[in-house]
Symmetry: C2
Amino acid sequence: MTGRLTVLGLGPGDPRYLTADAASALAAADALYGYGPYLDRVPPRAHQDRYASDNRQEGVRAAAALEAAGKGANVAIVSGGDPGVFAMAAAVCQEIENGPAAWRAIDLVVVPGITAMLAVAARVGAPLGHDFCALSLSDNLKPWPLVERRLDAAAAAGFVIALYNPLSRARPWQLGAAFARLRGILPGAAPVVFGRAVGRADESIVVTTLEAADPSQADMATLVIVGSAETRLIRRDDGRAPLVYTPRSAERASA
Amino acid sequence: MTGRLTVLGLGPGDPRYLTADAASALAAADALYGYGPYLDRVPPRAHQDRYASDNRQEGVRAAAALEAAGKGANVAIVSGGDPGVFAMAAAVCQEIENGPAAWRAIDLVVVPGITAMLAVAARVGAPLGHDFCALSLSDNLKPWPLVERRLDAAAAAGFVIALYNPLSRARPWQLGAAFARLRGILPGAAPVVFGRAVGRADESIVVTTLEAADPSQADMATLVIVGSAETRLIRRDDGRAPLVYTPRSAERASA
């Protein structure tokens, strides 16, 4: 008998960003698997087991959940944000591809969520209002020269850039290196947004410019948006942060 | 007295993708503004006015909602998907920037939603599991050579590409031109996904390859994902569509 594995996204953390579909999947699962801090956001339920694991254990976590679903259980893997963006859905697919043939028969359901860049963008206006890209700055899983190549290509072509995994204690220099590289391509006045823990008590949103952007304002949980040459700041007089938006139209054929 | 303007996203259409935050904003608004088919997805409420407008009327719609909020009303603009991705939030910011100074004092709230690329990606696995970009193929608001330049840059640098607004009756050739261009850069076996109306009765998901992709399978409401050279297909024996995913790790420094 084959069970079901649901891979679902909680969004940025506050329950108000949860979709009805993700709430149903949480309620229906016999067991939840996930990185501990994400599981901690889900209220406990009777008769629902929980298996917390470290954030470097994606492959092991995916395999454990597939193993349980393969035996007939209805289990869920819990991601922050959207499970398909730098998160668990790809890890599950990879385990299915490389695992026992029976895992291909499991009923795999991916339930989307509000990914960090959408939540941060909403807080400041519409910086992702035109063409944009999402790029992980982690060089744990790809070589740094490839990160540099993608930064260069995206900036030169005029994409707004959302940076995931900007730095961590073990990777302290990557965000600074990315800003330095982007300063060689984009105007210093290009807006930059640091967003963290949207909707939670410790929410932090900082709007600045590329020339002034200080990497030490970010940590592992920060999402950074670097505007294009088209991205605009609207100052407001009343002490609120400026609005940031990228117009839906671009007049120039160059970036 | 200054009111509030909420710009909110319904997600792909089915109520199961609505966030709790968007549902609250819909319930609290004195009036709703939006493209007719999006408003039609919202159940009517007593004492809540509705102003439907055509999908080419973004600026006019934004100004009308700002005008009402400037007079003290609590109004909402309803977008499909996420309001910050090729949608109304940028149009509202643009009207604020160019409109009367009083509009800057309006309490503007953007409520994120599940954008089409996340919903389509979830249906097939995790094609956006690594670096990706979102690009509108409409040349109504930017010159086509800029679209070509961005397609070239994104494909050559190894980004997975989500194409919004792939074509319409008035723009019938753009998606075919984009595929032709991408075939010159990416392998013919790169997976391509056409997704439409996720979660609705007329949902359609097609998984194919770049060499076989037929632009006539898309319409105005289709979201197209073009994989990178790293994106993989996992065949399943039981008649279900293959899984599509992009591994979280990239070994090679070239695309």
